[in-house]
Amino acid sequence: MMRLAKYTRPYLGWILLAILLLFAQVNFDLAVPDYLSRMINIGIQQGAGTAYILQTGGSMLGLTLLSVLCTVAVVAVSSRVAAGMARDMRSDIFDKVSSFSNAEFDRFSTASLITRSTNDITQVQLVTMMLIRIVFYAPLMGLGGILHLLGKDVSILWLIAGAVVFSIGFVVVVILVTTPKFRKIQTLIDRLNLVARESLSGLFVIRAFNRQACEEKRFDAVNRDLSAVNLFVNRVTMSMMPVMTLVMNGLGVLIVWVGARQVAAGTLQVGDIMAAVQYAAQIVMAFLMLSTIIVILPRASVSAGRIADVLETQPVVQAAPTAGPFAEPFQAIIEFDQVSFRYPQAEDDALHGISFKALPGQTTALIGPTGAGKSTLINLLLRFYDVTSGTIRVNGADIRLVTPQALRAQIGYVPQKGILFAGTVESNLRFADDHLDEAALRASIETAQAAEFVLAQPEGLTLPVAPGGNNLSGGQKQRLSIARALVRKPPVYIFDDSFSALDLNTDAALRRALKPETKGSTLILVSQRVSAIQPAEQILVLDEGRIVGQGTHAELMKTNALYQEIAQSQLSQAAAV
């Protein structure tokens, strides 16, 4: 939790105000029994009469009102502070994650990052509010109570001080004992969720392999563990109520007993005893309220840790301090020079000594089996990872010496799976640049063969896109992704198996339309279909992280065994070249 302490800084003034208000409230609350004691001592014992009683009653009412006003103010302040901190944290974590490279996303997992940016922050917010409202109140009450009694009887003071110390000690022990257990519960709940989710998503496989009993056993193991820890924790937290109630009640009784002696000695009056009993009740009650936060504190602590983990992570791919834009004029020459790459903590290199040059106006195609490293290569070019050895040069410059923004501004990237965002077709196409004119948008939609479901519709460019593009089919999403890349007419295009969801006719029409549009640009094309890469000026055959063939389709068909196999399996015998 301490790692997030810096978020309180802008609000320290408010927090101080809240503490002052709480202290004022404490004093108002403690003053009420004073008037009670006066009423008893003076009003009754000394017989000052009804008028006096009414007077003290009025004072008590006034004090109560003041106390409530303080509380309301504290509520407002604590809500605002907590909400403000949450807003700040959300903002920072969003910024941080936006700057993450693929390595960080792999490390944390997207789902976990989402939780850290949402649920976890809410937990911390809740705790902050409770900290200010409740946690500060209890010790202040204890302090105030002791101060209040300083002037009065010492023996009662010791009693109350003793109770306060005991209460603090008890609460602390409970927190220390339960916190690690709460962490465990959280982990177990996550695991329970996971096992259940897997059972559901794998229904077919589980039944096909007759593994129902196995799944039930897996679930049962977690269920048992969770129940055991839950039982322990519940028992401990449930014990707080009876113990604190006993302390509160017992304290009251002891005060009367001890106070009786003082009354006999004449050093104390009965009204004072009654007031002291009230103090005791108020003080212990304040500590009892602390117990409500015990349940939330560990969970929030875990959440805070998770948030801090993200905020403290530096992405592996960062702009070097001296990085700048590309030198003018920009030539879209891409060069891989003995590039090797290993994923963090992997045993083997995913890419070995890759060297090739891709020239403007030409298509460089990548083909090869699964796991050969095609997508890895693309990720390196886009600097979603950095190379482990060797250099990638664009426009003659090592891409690590250029800002990632400058690099990516030159590239139109179409990923394997069409990724779109909530909004309209237009907002998606304008993703990279708000200032493109409508004609350009329409042209790219036409080229991408998306006109039939966009421009042909009455909404046209304002056709709504649901979050994640879920209202569109896979093929439609791909076409819009292509349009999005086309719209800026970048010097470099990367198509990462971007035509896979298109049926063969659309695929062919699309590539026909693309040719004039992408003339002059450097095209990097990854595909499984030989027919798609056949016309490329340069084909790189990748296998197990190495380039095992390089050349045109005709050359490779003559010389490269792997390429021949791939090609022959796709084209029918009659049309084999």
Binding site: T50, G57, R90, S99, S109, V205, N230, G259, Q345, L420
Partner: protein, 610 residues
Amino acid sequence: MMRSGLSGSGPGWLDKVKARDLKGSLSKLTGYLAHDKLALIFVLVFAVGSTAANIVGPKMLGEATTLLFKGALAQMGGEGSIDFERIGQLVGFTLGLYLLSALLAYVQSWIMTDVATHITYRFRREISEKINRLPLRYFDGASHGEVLSRITNDVDTVNQTLSQSLTQIVVSAVSVIGVLIMMLSINGLMTLLALLTVPLFMVSGLLIIRQSQTFFKQQQDYLGQVNGQVEEMYGGHVVVQAFNAEAKSKRIFETANKKLYEANWRAQTFSGLMMPIMTFISNLGYVIVVVVGGWLALQKTISVGDILAFIQYVRSFSQPITQLANISNILQQTAAAAERVFEFLEEAEESPETTAPVTLEEVTGRVEFKAVHFGYRPEKIIIQDFGAHVQPGQKIAIVGPTGAGKTTIVKLLMRFYDVNDGAILVDGHDLRDFTRHGLRHMFGMVLQDTWLFNGTIMENIRYGRPDATDEEVFAAARAAHADHFIHTLPDGYHMVLNEETSNISQGQKQLLTIARAILADPRILILDEATSSVDTRTEILIQRAMDHLMKNRTSFVIAHRLSTIRNADLILMVREGNIVEQGRHEALLARGGHYAELYNSQFAQADLVG
């Protein structure tokens, strides 16, 4: 105690949940509790005892105080002294009462948590077992999230009620009655005045709740927006970065974030007013009682100690009242949660197994389809009157456009669904004559939707045959051409697939599922578009391995790629669920029908390359 996965953005008492059949669910829940009847009776008795002891305490203490007061007065007036003996007795007795109360409360909560935890465990276990007995049909209609919610949130709610609220309700009810009795025994007028606060509580409480709910709804809306933004942007971060759209995405996010902030603090402040206002009303009552009490004490109608006792009673009156007022809400929430759990547990299960199952010593793998009719929904029959004979060891290719119903045949073979009419026979026996377990043991399956779990790669492959040796696992991986890439991964075979199994690629997942099937070494093989996300080169190698595997094994291959089915012994052409053509490749081509059309369109592709 722990809320799993909920955002906790509003106090529980503001959630307006209504159960459909309050009485029904609650009575079922009670039935469930009957198992621990004895324990619950103890809990009840102890709770009542503890509360009662607690309630008598203040009265006793009040008497002691009165004695003290009288004694002090007498002492001052020189007429007597403080009766320490009697006071001591009272004090000791009161202390004893409080100790007893605490002890009873402690034991009671010990037992209660035991019962609640056990019931929660039972609920969860029964749900997990139920999942495996439900027909697949059920899951066509229900989302996974829904089912999961029952295991976690709903069971949690019930748990919370049982472990906390149940005893709280009893204690509150007894407190209210007991405190009322005690207050009346002291003075009627003061009791009446104290009771005046109750309607004030109710009214102000309701008002605050109503207004808070508007604010909370707003908050939830904006929270949803922010969450949606986050999900989208994180999920599509690759595109965001590739298009340098970080600034834009931040702008959109900040707008939602700010709005959330505003709604947030309003909602939290307003709902936070509940406590102070309740406290104020309670204090109001306190002051009134003190004043009237003081006046009455002056009149000698009550004693000074009575004032002290009464104050304590008034203080301890407000909490049980609010809790009782909350009862209806708690009951509704619990009933709703319990309802969902019971609903799930009472769902119709798969049709029962036959009582006299067939077990085959040797499975030859002869499959026969006899006039099969089937539809997922009774109004829409997809497979109409399908018949075919498959000889042992033959390779059957099922082809057709997407959504044509190809996987349906597979599901019928595996008895994930039963045919509406007609029969499927294996080695001459109707599928329904086998136990599902026995039937599925004969099949090996590789699906398009790769399913792997959060475990090591070794464990995942071994899922196919749990008693396989390490060597056999390695051999299966090699045959599936997964061995190489496994070695490029951190920790190799011992690498743990993460929760979303997203730390390996789709193609790699396919290879693992194939390795799993190879390890299982079944009689009848089902390959459901297994190789479509694996590139053709690897597909060839796998095919070779599969060919070897498929020798003397009947296999059903569902594929998009015509190249893989050219070697099939029998091709089933599926359109709109129906098998419209059957035969070998050359024969079907010659017929010039649907199959020929499909094949030619694929073939024509090669000529389009410019």
